[in-house]
């Protein structure tokens, strides 16, 4: 297998790190800015994916749809105060061609409720297509959940 330029590996991991810190710090308004102008974001289950079924739990086909979701979470939807703590690891670059990089990473997300109740809320893989450049961006981000079973509700993006 071809050697991956360590600078590319670093750029990808740095993008992922900045992305999860924005979500965990409740900077949801920054979330769409991690995507290119044609970027897509989808959360689905490994079960749907394996069966070739297209349904997503969250599907944003553009940064505008991501901004709409943030607006809804801030102004319309009602849910108890909660936050996430992401742990992302094992980032494997599966393809690197010019400025386009495909990467898969594992994640664990703990959900911490306002009263302190903490739950291992989601585990799975990020399957990312990233555009490198001065500021690397997600061109496509698929969040593939290991389980199809979601506890109570999923407000904040993963």
């Amino acid at each position: 297998m071809a050697t991956i330029d360590p600078r590319v590996q670093w750029q990808v991991e740095n993008l992922l790190a900045r992305y999860v810190h924005a979500l965990d710090d409740d900077r949801l308004e920054d979330w769409p800015g991690f995507f290119s102008s044609t970027g897509r974001y989808r959360i689905t289950t490994a079960e749907n994916h394996a069966a070739g079924l297209p349904l997503c739990i969250v599907q944003a086909d553009s940064p505008a749809m991501m901004r709409d979701r943030v607006a809804a979470l801030r102004h319309a939807n009602i849910y108890e105060a909660q936050g996430y703590r992401h742990v992302v690891s094992s980032t494997l670059i599966t393809r690197a061609e010019g400025a386009i990089v495909d990467a898969v990473s594992n994640f664990h997300v703990a959900r911490v409720m306002h009263d302190g109740a903490t739950l291992l809320f989601a585990t799975g893989r990020y399957i990312d297509r990233i555009l490198l450049g001065d500021a690397p961006l997600f061109e496509d981000k698929r969040v593939l959940l290991d389980s199809r079973r979601i506890d109570t509700l999923m407000a904040i993006p993963l």
Binding site: I43, T44, T45, E47, N48, A51, L53, P54, L55, C56, I57, V58, Q59, A60, D61, S62, A64, M65, R67, D68, R69, A71, A72, H75, A76, N77, I78, Y79, E80, R148, R149, I150, D151, T152, L153, M154, A155
Partner: protein, 410 residues
């Protein structure tokens, strides 16, 4: 929660009160598994289209009882308890798949796809020793067979004898609204499930509570998708346990919400990508949102062009698994499928107009813990169970309790 030694009597006000012990009593929970889910009810099992051809199976539930739904080699549907006749192990673990027969992993007893026991491993022993006596009846404890009906692509099952057909169970008016959605062959688009931290009845009441829709779900009103001032209605059918609520959206001019100074009127921002909510009047009758609730635990939804079934599976006194399966029509083109998928942002655990339901019902379960001797007040829209043009009504919630009490003898 400890079981109450003796189930108290229903409040004398009747259907306008729901005593909180109904969500807290462990003995009552066990009784309702038998009398409601395994009693005189049609339970939704899955879409017929989720069993794509002969020799396929899928697991489902009858209350808390696991069942297997199959299609045999001829393509006929069957459903039976997911329990081996020998020592009671699960026959099937996988949620779905294809098979020509089933073999219990524990001691390899085999079954055909109708649920009939076809083989007992080493029945005659080996070399004349071991095995069963000749008069043994290994199928004496065979998995129970369900009666099933494929109602326009929806598979329902029951353990009760002499049930009326599904059409009568729904009632003619509700049945007509089911058929308008299930008018053509469907194809599943995928699914997921959601664990709700509450008794199963709180979720079904939420489905039947047309009063909450535009008050709890602010996305509806903020983006003016659905307001109670729109045309529509609630139809209650069957013995009260089945209902449909629907709305026909006209351009919204009403300022009733603003006049009433309600929280859900807070507006002032628009969607950047409103195409998510553009819908096509594909059924041709102007109905943009329709929710059908079928006692005890089935929901058929049309929200714009997002079609889905929801199945309620009790997972204990205070835990409920809600299975969602979205679908389209088999003849949908790519654009229509994409429209349905984009609108699926409205539903499920992250749905713009459904995420609150998972929380609200849990709030009730948490709040009533010390109030088993108190009651919910269910008086919106009067005191009876009747179809109604106004959705500012709890008529179908009262209908749910009418159906539940008839089965429970309470």
């Amino acid at each position: 929660m400890a079981a109450t030694p003796q189930t108290p009597a229903w409040p004398q006000e009747g259907l306008t009160r729901v005593p909180y012990w109904v969500y807290q009593d462990a003995d009552l929970y066990r009784q309702e598994m038998d009398r409601v889910f395994r009693g005189r009810s049609w339970n939704f099992l899955c879409l017929a289209a989720e069993l794509p051809g002969p020799n396929t199976f899928r697991t489902s539930d009858l209350g808390d009882m696991p069942v297997v739904v199959t299609r045999d080699a001829e393509g006929a549907f069957h459903a039976f308890e997911n329990r081996c006749a020998h020592r009671g192990a699960l026959l099937v673990f996988k949620p779905a798949g294809s098979a020509r027969e089933m073999a219990c992993v524990y001691h390899n007893w085999t079954y055909d796809l109708t649920g009939k026991l076809t083989g007992v491993a080493f029945r005659r022993g080996i070399k004349g020793s071991g095995g069963m006596l000749p008069d043994a009846q290994p199928d004496a404890q065979a998995p129970r067979q369900l009666k099933i009906e494929n109602y326009h692509g929806l598979l329902f099952g029951t353990l009760a004898d002499g049930m009326p057909p599904v059409e009568d169970y729904l009632g003619a008016d509700v049945a007509e609204k089911v058929r308008r959605v299930m008018a053509k062959p469907v194809k599943p688009l995928g699914g997921y499930s959601q664990m709700l931290p509450n008794n199963w009845k709180l979720y079904m009441e939420n489905v039947k509570d047309t009063y909450h829709a535009s008050l709890l779900h602010l996305f509806f009103t903020t983006f003016r998708i659905n307001r109670l001032s729109q045309r529509g209605g609630v139809i209650v059918g069957g013995d009260g346990g089945c209902h449909v609520s629907y709305s026909i959206t006209d351009a919204v001019k009403s300022d009733d919400y603003e006049k009433a100074g309600m929280r859900s009127a807070a507006g002032g921002f628009a969607l950047e990508a409103p195409e998510v909510l553009d819908s096509v009047d594909e059924i041709g009758d102007g109905i943009t949102v329709q929710i059908v609730g079928v006692f005890p635990g089935f929901v058929l939804q049309q929200i714009k062009n997002c079609l889905a079934v929801r199945r309620v599976a009790p997972r204990g006194l205070e835990s409920t698994e809600l299975f969602w399966t979205a679908f389209g029509y088999a003849d949908d083109d790519q654009a229509r499928t994409e429209l349905r998928l984009a609108q699926a942002n409205l539903i499920g655990p992250a749905g713009f107009i459904s995420m609150e339901d998972g929380a609200a019902t849990g709030f009730v379960q948490r709040a009533i813990i010390g109030a088993g001797d108190h009651q919910a007040v269910v008086e919106m829209g009067g005191r009876d169970v009747a179809s109604n043009e106004s959705r500012i009504s709890e008529t179908s919630v009262r209908g749910f309790w009418q159906a539940w009490r008839a089965r429970m003898g309470l």
